[in-house]
Amino acid sequence: MIAIRWFKYSSPQTFYPLAGRLTTWFGALAALLAVTGLYIGFFVAPTDFQQGEAYRIIFIHVPAAWMSMFLYLVMAMWAAIGLAWNTRLSSMMALAIAPTGAMMTFIALWTGALWGKPMWGTWWVWDARLTSELILLFLYVGFMFLHAAIDDPRRADRAAAVIAIVGAINVPIIYFSVKWWNTLHQGASVSLTRSPSMASTMLAGMLIMSLAFWMYSIAVILKRVRCVILERERNADWLREPGATA
């Protein structure tokens, strides 16, 4: 029964109004979580004994970096499903994720530079973590450019899917780069196997901000996939019915 309900939402026609309703809810959750996370980050979490107030960049740097990697994997997954089963909504999801993923990657790099300058004395180094994250940005941009360069959208979906799938190998490289190579970037502050190496209020602020980034990403991606559906299904009969575009 559940499987049948899921398939119901695999067509653009039924997913379009659902995505509209979900956007509102996830957007509201994102705002609520961001306000809470920023309050904890700036007014509850203490000053770091080593880094002073500069460490507060962590409250956006780590969530953005996590999202940049996670969104890439989700994008590659949808692209692969679209490639394998020729389901057009899957490919539309991949296309809708790419800009937000690229933005998260840019934010991770930007905040990393602004954090690196006071702490390491440099905006940028070509170490494994930073370089592989930069490659992630190029993969997102390459995915979008390739898709835009091919006129037939279904062919564009398939070609871009190949980049997305091949590029997914970069995500574990980013994640484990601080272990595999000797990098200037510090190791993971949070892992599943040991207790986090930071104060509990700092951790709480970071996790709540991460949730806010999640909710934000879901909201804007659903909003964007609605635009993609409007563009690509513009001649479909269901969109001609009154109220269909709401």
Binding site: H61, E231, T245
Partner: protein, 50 residues
Amino acid sequence: MSWENLGTFIAMGGYGGYVWGSFGVTAACALIEILALGARRRRLLRQRAE
């Protein structure tokens, strides 16, 4: 964390430029993304109406 006044909050212990540069650009990115999506949707709906 209690800040003495608005000035110390903005100064961020001498790291104000780095901290606010990070948070400001992030907020700007989110705002631009939301506004751009709104504009894209309005443009598409207008095209349909024509």
